[in-house]
Amino acid sequence: MTLFQRQAADGAAATLPAPDRPATGPSLEAQLPALRQRLMRHARFAVHDHSLAEDLVQDTLIAVMEQHVRRRGDASLVTWATAILKNKVADWYRSPLRKRVVQLDAENDQLEQGADPLYDASGAYVDPVPAWQQPENREEQRQMMTVLDRCVSSLPTQTGRVFMMREWLGFEPAEICERAAISPENCRTILHRARTSLRVCMQRNWIDAKGRT
């Protein structure tokens, strides 16, 4: 038993075990590889940059190791670690040293091409927009999540960052404008285009694909 494991075991013995970490459960270290993979998925979404995501996850895992023994409450390890990661990502976005100027011209063109054929000259939909069936069971919902996950990953980098600042970090539009150095109008446009392209992506890769099987 390493010193760290002994400390963790002592800590666990001194507190009431939370439902997800019974005294007989796997050690923290045994859970770290799986935890790291999960966090990496979130981090890559959030910053759209692999090496930056690595750094943020590394910081998060260090914090998890340091604070695990003192952890209280019923949140699962993953939920708790995700909350730490979220703070790290928010700090990164908020750090004045790392203020990112969003370069959107090229991305706008890219998304525009995706969205424009939706409408005719008068701004009406060219093709009928179908109602989506709600997922029928857990397995369908899982598949839908996987498709959505890919669609979010395929957003252009800066658009994806603005989207994640809003939808994952929960920044208010005013804060996004400030952090990304864009105008409110620009921010609205980016979020709208992100949502539209996700909607189209989901239609194509989930609904239409399901209809074909």
Partner: protein, 82 residues
Amino acid sequence: MIWMHSCRRVAALLSQSLDEPLGRLDLLRVRVHLSMCGNCRNVEQQMLTMKALWADLFSSGDLSEGDDARATTTDGPARPTD
């Protein structure tokens, strides 16, 4: 029929309404348009469906079903215990 807003404009306002309250006039126009336009009602429904999905996707930590995490799903609850 000439609608007060085009579908293109309504889609932008539907997105905006997820981030900030709409002005009174815009809100009225969107409502009137939605009452007459099935396509835009479906767009609204799709946007709300996605919003609920990614709230799940991003908040629960249960992002485990993708390609690089398939072998790692034995720990943790399948759903948040709420």
